[in-house]
């Protein structure tokens, strides 16, 4: 069965229906990851986005019960070239195509995804619609006919744009829940769920942290109620400029000098809480191969990215804010985009990329250790000196440490 992909600027691509058939509109973004489609699909940050996979073969390892990053698939549409006809992995439980269909995710396959990616690269991320099955037709009985491309384009243009969208509320957990520490509990963290991925609390828990995951709308009292040693803001979808509640909450946190760590959207919220601006990247960073420089250690880490917006901060030296000085701690070597912030006068830092990976390389796992150290009262500079001495060696190599082989293919 055929399907059509229509971009906001009128360019269309034909293909075959994949997953559910029907209509979907959202923001077209491309992801260059060669592995981890299951994690990608279940990452709440992709809410309202139609994801184009540049890697041609998708679905080869099926869908399993361990790798989901949240309770459901969030992408609003999925564009691939060659979906697997049969999955092959001892962990596979379900076929990807079936799972997309069951979750009502409209997809399209057989697309020249490279051409589409090049188009998005040149023209920037834009709205897109995918139509298949009945969605391609209109009217009924006598008057039933194919929808014209003009009509399809109209549907795309009428969709809400990503800029200005406040989406955290749509993806966050409804009720607070606790992820217990692995082994003895050493610390407690209040984690604000703006679209959190399961691996993040898991990484903290592994380090003896009890994680209280709170809804995006949590108040400072809700936060203080769990008597946290530190506060964490997660990744999530939408335009940081349109997300005010969390910004206000974070200012309360910073004012109380509570140790803070933010990832992705959390990094943008920190930027705004400090009074810095945020802006939309032309086509964003989405992939598992982005080189990021840790300006403190001079080390390059290969990192997982998924962001369409970025913080606007000067790369040359600290700036003053309501909460003292802040400096850019990490930059992307591909395009000098700000990838991390470090406050020099309050115990707070954040990164734009994904140390929790899932999917992606584990190079940045040490950041969770930094957060833990910060909560133990070591101030950031000491943490850094410490990191430099050990050259982050264990910090990274421990990803490969024992415990790996306890569960097959498990990540520690």
């Amino acid at each position: 069965m055929t399907a059509v992909l229509v971009l906001e600027d009128g360019r269309t691509f034909g293909g075959d229906a994949y997953g559910a058939s029907g209509t979907t509109v959202g923001e077209a973004v491309f992801c260059t990851a060669m592995t981890g489609y299951q994690e990608t699909l279940t990452d709440p940050s992709y809410h309202r986005q139609v994801v184009v996979m540049t890697s041609p073969h998708i679905g080869n390892t099926g869908m399993n019960d361990e790798d989901g990053e949240s309770r459901r698939i969030w992408v609003s549409g999925f564009v691939v070239r060659d979906p697997a006809r049969r999955p092959s992995s001892w962990r596979s439980r379900r076929d990807l195509g079936d799972e997309l269909a069951d979750s009502g995710v409209v997809g399209i396959s057989g697309v020249d995804t490279r051409a589409l990616t090049r188009h998005l690269r040149e023209r920037g991320a834009m709205r897109v619609g995918v139509f298949s099955g009945d969605a391609l037709r209109t009217g009924s009985g006598e008057s039933e006919r194919q929808r014209t491309s003009a009509e399809l384009l109209e549907l795309v243009r009428s969709a809400a744009p990503m800029s200005g969208a406040d989406l955290a509320g749509e993806v966050t957990t409804t009720a607070a829940y606790v992820v217990p520490a692995v082994g003895t509990r050493r610390l407690v963290v209040a984690a604000i769920d703006l679209g959190i991925k399961a691996t993040t609390p898991a990484e903290l828990a592994k380090r003896g942290v009890e994680v209280h995951v709170l809804p995006a709308a949590a108040s400072i009292d809700d936060v203080l109620a769990v008597r946290p040693d530190g506060v964490f803001f997660s990744n999530g979808p939408g335009d940081p400029a349109a997300t005010d509640g969390p910004v206000a909450l974070l200012r309360e946190v910073l004012g109380r000098r509570l140790p803070f760590f933010g990832i992705c959207f959390g990094n943008q919220i920190l930027g705004r809480a400090l009074g810095l601006g945020t802006y939309k990247l032309r086509y964003g960073h989405r992939g598992l191969n982005q080189p990021v420089l840790d300006r403190a250690t001079g080390r390059v880490e290969v990192t997982a990215h998924n962001h369409g917006f970025a913080v606007d901060a000067p790369l040359d030296g600290p700036v003053d804010t309501d909460f003292g000085r802040v400096e850019v701690s990490h930059v992307c070597l591909n395009d000098d985009v700000v990838e991390g912030l470090r406050c020099l006068d309050v115990p707070a830092f954040s990164v734009q990329y994904h140390p929790e990976a899932a999917a992606g390389p584990h190079d940045a796992g040490y950041l969770f250790d930094r957060f833990v150290a910060l909560m133990h009262g070591t101030d950031l500079h000491e943490v850094l000196d410490h990191d430099q001495e050990r050259g982050d060696h264990q910090g990274r190599a421990h990803n490969a440490g024992p415990g790996h082989d306890e569960e097959p293919g498990g990540r520690d």
């Binding site: 299951q38 049969r86 992606g360 190599a397």
Partner: protein, 1110 residues
């Protein structure tokens, strides 16, 4: 960190001759390294005995030593050049082992040379299998249960512990040399015995077998500030048990979830750190249990490898180039990614296509060899293909291999599924086709998976190909949609034609009429995230084309495809030179466009030509490239003469399709290639060829043989490398040959006739490479073969300038070569082979193309023949090129002065790699069918020294003292007397078998009688010669086979010699040369060690006295 300022000169060690397991990929990596280091302003000193390489081009290093890669020689070079550092990680195992030896014997310390790229400890930790296991465990990962053994006894004990089957692997070897799978004690004794011998440290590792697990490789790079990136993941289609070099492999990995992949990545990174590879590339292999994901680390190579060359071509991330930069101090983030130009190298490439590599084997040349694929690498080359999906890449790769039967097919009936499944259990060359036939015959993916262990995902993709084939076959008409579907999954026009019983060109016509054409995508390292500035393209039946228009005059150069015996790196050399020469041709030069599918080569480096198309070398694929380029600008012509027989074979088809060709015309090519017409050319010029005829069956063949007389030489027409060629001594064996020839893939038919030639006994063979521009002939060089005619030119040693030919002979050679060049109508290079018998000069054959010897001649005379050829093809004359300084102002390779250095080319044969199913080495007699994989060059002031160098470069080298065993056929008894006498005088003890001993005694040459193998061990246990050889009591063996088929005795002797690695001499001509070589070695030994001299110095000296060129 910027580049280190404390290093001003670097010694780079190459990998020597092309052998199985160590091939052109090291020319690619070495060439990149030399270029980078020089660009960094460092003085580069290079040693490599392989003349066919680009890296040994004088322009690529400041001092190029074409000398044997032995610790002694390299020490001499160090003493002379005093480099600050030694870069050992780009020349394969050869370079690594030599560097380790120089570190061990204190030479590096003595001369204050620093190892860069890897340190001794790291190399040991990586290469010593036992140390390595410790490393892996410290990284929290797993290895196979195993036991290290230093003696056979240890091995047998271990068997009890590990149980059979068991993998036996020596330390410090490459390509699985000496390793194997032992299913019982007999195997164990055999393999472990060999293994202990191969290992530089007489150590073997016995390991639990995990045959059938999924096999993966990661290519990693680390810099001096401990940044690590994984450049590429590779998945083997053939599971564990088949050497990665022999497996069909795919990049990126197709069947790993992110969890498993990241786990592998973490372990890989932990291992490279723990091993302590300070900078550069390394390759780590993993095995994954398909049932529970348990992962095991198999091994690592702390250097660039065959796989890193593959990874570089597969991703566009030039590992060797970057490794060289890292070695001199840069960090990954300081090195730009040349493809995007804007982003740094400290990232991990993202692929939006699929890459498939298929190995190329040469079992047809070793009928006795066991063709099952095991842990020992047996392939001689590989082809790589890129497609937007697996099916497309796979089918392109299978046709790139260029072997009949290598592609999926639908001829006849598939046969019985059960039998096909049974056959597919054993891994062999072409198993993938058996798998396809099994699926075609109705076997299920599960059944095939059970039989082969190949992952169901790959099998399902082959099933998909089957389904498409079924649709194509059953459809009432070939619609656009159907054709698109077929092309999208990699079907060639030939395959579609076969399914629809249509001719290839008709399919193509229909396809073009329906507007079904490929687009060309770009390899950009980043899945289109950033714009690519490097035109490295591959075809795909997708929608958007990325070829950018260009106003320049373009020339398309067709490469030579996968390396194979008879067509190797020498041809890549010529193609690369053409690209260089045309870029700087007069009036702005040409835009050069390379088409090739061999990932090992320099020609497929995107730096070599202006545009690179990584495509199969078939008529269809080449036509589409030409079409794409014609759409984007003017194509002046296509060059088919430099890539060997592969592109030559496409000449007519291209011309028929109206493609502009440059150089020798297809008609002229036919004149030289077709026996009949070539005979007429010779006749008109009054030249003689051995009497011959062409037969399409036994009756005709017999008639011809009876007329011209036995012995005759028989072979199929249109072959390279003497494929299927035999010397036949009587009618009976002639009949035998025809039976075999008609059955085997030689497929003798009326349109593929057999050529029957009078075989010239005791003829001196002469090889000539010449340039012709239509009026003037430039004799590039005249090579005199050491072995008599009858030993394939590719396998026999040769010397330039000739050492026994007189000026008159050379004059005759010149005159006849010119007559042929003119008669055929050559524009460019011509190779002629002559045989001089009883003072008659016979023309054996003429190849209207660059030959295997072009690089050798170019280096021996310091004249770039291939460059000159390319420029001639595009219209310049020899006179122009003399003026342009590309050729000497006066004279040529036929007028070399007496002072000219003498160069000897010696062939390197792979016999030791191949075992019969019984585990014996295959016979080593040379014949008219070429079987060498590579060559070395020895260059010095006189023949004996040059010959001695060539010998030590090719293998252990000639002995200077000890015991020689002599046993020669009757026809050789007279010729052997003088040399054997000389050996006695030089202090050797001579062992001989009865017949030979008798002749020696009568001639007053003392020798010790030894028992023949057939006589068996004596009553009081006197050992037979074979036992003595195996016991290492013999330092050199002289054994010339009697008659055509080596008699059992001869075979046993040669086999024993090969397995203990002693020089084996099978012709009297070799013997004479060897004796001279031994003398010179004794002299040099007495006057203080080896004499080394750089190619640049040799050339400068030569050109001072010759050719009027400063």
């Amino acid at each position: 960190m910027p580049r280190r300022e404390d290093i001003t000169s670097v010694l780079v060690i190459g990998s020597g001759p092309i052998v199985i397991g160590q091939a052109a990929e090291f020319d690619y990596s070495g060439t990149q390294a030399c270029r980078v280091l020089r660009a960094e302003g460092l003085r580069v000193v290079l040693v490599n005995s392989n003349p066919a390489t680009i890296m040994t081009d004088p322009e690529l290093a400041d001092a190029t030593y074409v000398e044997p890669i032995t610790p002694e020689v390299v020490e001499a070079i160090i003493a002379l050049e005093r480099p600050d550092a030694l870069l050992p990680t780009l020349g394969g195992q050869t370079a690594l082992n030599t560097a380790m030896a120089l570190a061990a014997n204190g030479v590096l310390e003595k001369y204050g040379v620093e190892l860069i790229g890897a340190n001794v400890a790291a190399i040991e930790a990586g290469e010593d299998r036992q140390l390595f296991k410790g490393v892996v465990e410290r990284c929290g990962a797993q290895t196979c249960r195993s036991v290290v053994a230093h003696t056979l006894e240890d091995c047998l004990d271990a068997a009890g512990e590990l149980g059979y089957p068991m993998v036996v692997r020596p330390s410090f070897t490459m390509g699985g040399l000496g390793s194997g799978m032992a299913y019982d004690e007999k195997d164990l004794r055999r393999i472990a015995g060999g293994g202990l011998h191969e290992s530089a440290t007489t150590e073997v590792l016995l390991e639990e077998s995990i045959i059938g697990w999924k096999e993966y490789e990661l290519e990693l790079m680390r810099d001096s500030s401990d940044n690590v990136v994984v450049v590429c993941s590779i998945e083997n289609v053939d599971p564990m048990g088949v050497h990665t070099g022999d497996s069909i492999t795919v990049a990126p990995a197709m069947t790993l979830t992110d969890r498993e992949y990241q786990h592998m990545r973490d372990v890989g990174i932990a291992v490279i750190r723990e091993v302590g590879v300070d900078t550069g590339g390394c390759n780590i292999q993993f095995a994954v249990n398909p049932d529970d994901g348990r992962m095991i680390v198999i091994e690592m190579n702390p250097r660039v490898s065959r796989s890193s060359a593959l990874a570089s071509k597969a991703t566009g991330f030039p590992i060797a180039k970057i490794a060289a930069r890292l070695a001199v101090g840069y960090t990954l983030d300081e090195i730009p990614n040349d493809i995007t130009g804007t982003t740094p190298a400290s990232f991990e490439p993202a692929l939006d296509y699929v890459v498939v590599k298929v190995p190329r084997f040469a079992f047809e040349k070793f009928p006795a060899a066991d063709a099952t694929l095991t842990t020992t690498m047996k392939s001689v080359g590989e082809a790589m293909a890129i497609g937007r999906c697996f099916t497309e890449a796979m089918q392109k790769a299978l046709r790139s291999v260029e072997r009949s039967g290598s592609e999926f097919h639908w001829d006849g009936e598939p046969g019985d599924a059960a039998q096909l499944l049974e056959r597919s259990r054993t891994a062999t060359d072409g198993r993938i086709v058996t798998v396809q036939q099994a699926l075609r015959a109705g076997a299920s993916v599960e059944q095939v998976h059970d039989a082969t262990g190949i992952d169901p995902w790959f099998l399902d993709q082959i099933a998909l190909v089957e389904e498409v084939a079924a649709d194509v076959r059953s459809a009432t008409e070939l619609t656009r949609g159907l054709l698109r579907a077929a092309k999208r999954h990699g079907f060639s026009d030939v395959q579609v034609g076969a399914l629809r019983s249509m001719r290839e060109d008709v399919v193509r016509g229909v396809r073009h009429a329906l507007g079904v054409r490929p687009v060309f995508k770009t390899v950009d390292t980043c899945a289109a995230e950033f714009a690519a500035s490097t035109p490295y393209h591959y075809s795909s039946y997708d929608f958007e084309d990325e070829v950018t228009p260009s106003g320049r005059r373009k020339v398309v150069i067709l490469g030579s495809g996968p390396n194979r015996i008879g067509q190797g790196i020498e041809f890549d050399y010529s193609c690369v030179h053409a690209a260089f020469a045309l870029a700087d041709a007069p009036d702005g030069g040409f835009e050069t466009i390379m088409v090739n599918c061999n990932p090992e080569t320099v020609s497929t480096d995107y730096d070599t030509s202006d545009r690179l198309y990584f495509e199969p070398l078939t008529l269809e694929d080449v036509l589409e490239v030409v079409h794409a380029e014609q759409r984007s600008g003017e194509v002046v012509g296509v060059i088919v003469q430099l890539g060997g027989q592969t592109p030559l074979g496409l000449a007519q088809g291209l011309a028929d399709a109206g493609v502009p060709m440059v150089g020798t015309s297809p008609e002229a090519i036919h004149l030289a290639e077709d026996r009949g017409s070539f005979g007429r050319v010779l006749a008109e010029a009054g030249l003689v060829a051995p009497r011959h005829g062409t037969a399409s069956g036994f009756a005709e063949a017999k008639a011809i043989a009876d007329e011209i007389g036995y012995p005759v030489l028989v072979r199929p027409s249109y072959v390279l490398g003497g494929r299927g060629m035999e010397i036949v001594y009587d009618e009976e064996s002639l009949a035998g040959y025809l039976v075999r020839a008609t059955s085997s893939q030689l497929r003798i038919t009326p349109d593929h006739p057999v050529l029957v030639d009078r075989f010239l006994d005791d003829a001196i063979e002469i090889d000539v490479d010449a340039l012709y521009d239509g009026t003037e002939l430039y004799l590039g060089g005249v090579m005199e073969h050491i072995e008599e005619a009858g030993i394939h030119s590719g396998d026999s040693a040769c010397v330039l300038p000739p050492v026994t030919l007189g000026r008159a002979d050379i004059h005759r050679v010149r005159v006849q070569t010119e007559a042929i060049a003119q008669g055929v109508g050559v524009r460019g290079l011509l190779n002629v082979q002559f045989a001089l018998a009883s003072d008659v000069l016979y023309v054996l054959e003429a190849n209207p193309r660059a030959s295997r010897t072009v690089p050798f001649v170019s280096k021996a005379t310091g004249v770039p023949l291939a460059k000159a050829c390319a420029r001639l093809m595009l219209g310049e004359s020899i006179a122009d090129l003399r003026r342009a300084g590309l050729l000497p102002l006066t004279g040529d390779g036929g007028t070399l002065p007496a002072e000219a250095p003498v160069s000897v080319k010696e062939a390197v044969l792979p016999f030791k790699r191949f075992r019969t199913p019984q585990g014996l080495v295959v016979d080593t007699v040379l014949g008219p069918e070429m079987r060498s994989t590579g060559e070395v060059m020895g260059i010095d002031l006189d023949f004996p020294s040059a010959f001695a160098k060539a010998q030590s470069a090719a293998y252990g080298g000639l002995p200077t003292s000890g015991t020689v065993f002599v046993s020669v056929a009757d026809r050789d008894k007279r010729a052997m007397l003088f040399p054997v006498k000389r050996l006695r005088d030089l202090g050797f003890e001579v062992l001989a078998t009865a017949g030979t001993a008798e002749v020696l005694r009568r001639n007053g040459i003392a020798s010790r009688l030894v028992r023949k193998h057939s006589e068996g061990t004596g009553t009081d246990g006197e050992p037979t010669i074979v036992e003595r050889i195996l016991a290492g009591e013999v330092d050199m063996v002289v054994n010339t086979p009697s008659g055509r088929s080596a008699r059992a005795d001869g075979y046993e002797i040669r086999a024993a010699t090969t397995s203990v690695d002693r020089p084996i001499i099978t012709t009297v001509q070799q013997l004479a040369a060897a004796v001279q070589g031994i003398e010179s070695r004794q002299e040099t030994a007495s006057d203080g060690g080896v004499r080394v001299r750089s190619l640049q110095d040799h050339t400068a000296a030569l050109h001072r006295v010759w050719g009027g060129r400063s």
